[in-house]
């Protein structure tokens, strides 16, 4: 029998009511399976629904229809309290980092651990472990405003990993960063995926970013998945323009890395 996927969305739909009572279908009957250990990209034009789709995985956006299952638990069937517990298994980082500005780096990373009494005891050691993982041990007593954007995003990653989640959701994680910082951050994410086995789902409008880090991508158009493929699969034809462009970026990346290592 096939191993069940770590994340499974079945027939997920979400409709927003916009001005004048008109309906906007942000997601139309999306079904998606993401395997354990994958780095999965969601790509699409702005307004296509890729962010909404990412946010349904931890129910920050609760779908109107369909079900969401993560690590064997059907989140859409859980009560409020159970959902809060299940969310500890799903880390998330954001474009704007969303750190507490009035809390030190240490307190930011400790935040998810202190939410749950059971984890508070192992707090200090775990916080230092996570800060070491993102290379910011020396900044534990700084405040976010004293850090660069790249450093702030690293703190956010440390915070997201503190409760040892199986999944890390990344919502445009590099869009507020310059190219050099972006490259370093992608290295960190790749490291987390390979060494800790954390499954990563990443939304980005940047094709080079997705081409550099993803194993698999889904192309979202108008609230639906129109195509998905493994980036290493260069044999099958691409249906969408975005898909073709992404394949091109992947080839570019490969030649560039070859040249670098030659």
């Amino acid at each position: 029998m096939m191993k069940p996927p770590l994340i499974e969305l079945r027939h997920v739909g979400k409709t927003f009511t916009v001005a004048h009572g008109d309906a906007f279908h942000a997601l139309r009957d999306v079904s998606l399976r993401i395997e354990q250990g994958a780095v999965f990209g969601l790509v699409g034009k702005s307004g296509a629904g890729k962010s909404t789709l990412l946010r349904t995985i931890n129910l920050l956006e609760r779908p109107d229809r369909g079900s969401v299952t993560v690590d064997g638990r059907e989140l859409t069937a859980l009560g409020k309290r159970e959902l809060r517990a299940a969310r500890q298994n799903i880390g998330m980082i954001f474009q704007q980092f969303n750190l507490l500005q009035n809390a030190s780096v240490f307190d930011n990373v400790a935040f998810p651990l202190r939410l749950h009494a059971a984890r508070a005891a192992q707090g200090t050691a775990r916080v230092h472990e996570c800060l070491a993982l993102v290379g910011l041990s020396h900044k534990a007593h700084s405040y976010p405003a004293q850090l660069s954007g790249g450093q702030q995003q690293r703190v956010a990653i440390a915070r997201a990993l503190a409760s040892r989640p199986a999944v890390l959701l990344c919502d445009e994680p590099t869009s507020a960063l310059d190219p050099d910082t972006t490259r370093a951050l992608l290295d960190t994410l790749r490291h987390i995926n390979r060494e800790l086995g954390v499954t990563i789902v990443i939304v980005s409008h940047s094709l080079p970013v997705l081409g550099a880090i993803c194993d698999r991508v889904a192309v979202i158009e108008d609230g639906a998945v129109v195509e998905q493929f493994a980036l290493n699969d260069t044999a099958s034809p691409r249906k969408t323009a975005l898909g073709r462009e992404l394949a091109w970026h992947r080839r570019e990346q490969a030649t560039w890395e070859e040249a670098l290592h030659a």
């Binding site: 931890n58 920050l60 959902l83 809060r84 517990a85 299940a86 969310r87 500890q88 799903i90 998330m92 954001f94 704007q96 969303n98 750190l99 507490l100 500005q101 009035n102 809390a103 935040f111 998810p112 202190r114 939410l115 749950h116 405040y143 976010p144 405003a145 956010a156 915070r159 409760s163 959701l169």
Partner: protein
């Protein structure tokens, strides 16, 4: 003239004590009752996690209604309630009742406004980490808004130092009342100038401390 002021000192001390009593009770009520009311007002508002339109409308209407009263009218209108709570309708303790009610409504609004300044993304991140509503209030909203909340309380304290002068109408006493009785009714300009000088020092001190504390709390 110095002699006259000197002879007034005992009365000034009493007045200062009355002012501080009224302010202390009023601000305590503002923080203990108005604070939670402001948080609730924020949470049931549009786009927030406990959004509830009827509750938002009702709470908003209540706060606006209390704030509609000119303070002197609230003072008089509330006399039966005051008698019930304070056991009397005159004196500084009695005056503290309407003062507290007005302060609760005012502070609730200020708290709501300050919490709105907390970036939505930060609240969302806390939700994503599995925080409960209470945890979000205590560990996110109050932490991120704390500098603004201190400044709001500073504004409130100074406004109510002014309001407390009106308390003389119900025998509340206080420095403002002293200024009105001696300076205004008896045309003793020197006393008026002196009491106003005391008030200026009070206001400057409150504002200075508030600003300083807020700056120390703000890491943004």
């Amino acid at each position: 003239m110095l002699e006259r002021l000197f002879s007034l000192l005992p009365e000034l001390w009493v007045a200062l004590g009355q002012t501080l009593t009224m302010l202390g009770i009023g601000m305590l009520a503002a923080v203990l009752l108005g604070g939670p009311l402001g948080v609730l007002l924020f949470l049931v508002g549009r786009g927030q996690s406990l959004h509830n339109r009827p509750a938002a409308l009702l709470l908003g209407w209540l706060v606006n209604t209390v704030r509609s009263f000119p303070f002197i009218i609230l003072l008089v209108a509330l006399v039966p309630v005051t008698r019930l709570i304070a056991g009397t309708s005159i004196g500084p303790l009695a005056a503290s009742v309407p003062l507290s009610l007005a302060a609760v409504a005012y502070f609730a609004r200020l708290v709501e406004q300050n919490l709105r300044e907390v970036p939505k993304g930060v609240i969302e991140a806390a939700h994503a980490m599995g925080a409960s509503e209470t945890q979000i209030v205590v560990r996110v909203l109050l932490v991120e808004a704390r500098a603004g909340l201190v400044l709001a309380l500073t504004v409130l304290t100074i406004s109510f130092l002014s309001y407390s002068a009106v308390a003389g109408v119900v025998g509340g006493g206080g420095i403002g009342d002293l200024a009105i009785r001696y300076g205004y009714y008896r045309f003793e300009t020197d006393v008026m100038v002196f009491t106003v000088a005391v008030l200026i020092v009070l206001v400057q001190t409150i504002q200075f401390s508030g600003t300083r504390l807020a700056r120390r709390l703000d890491r943004r």
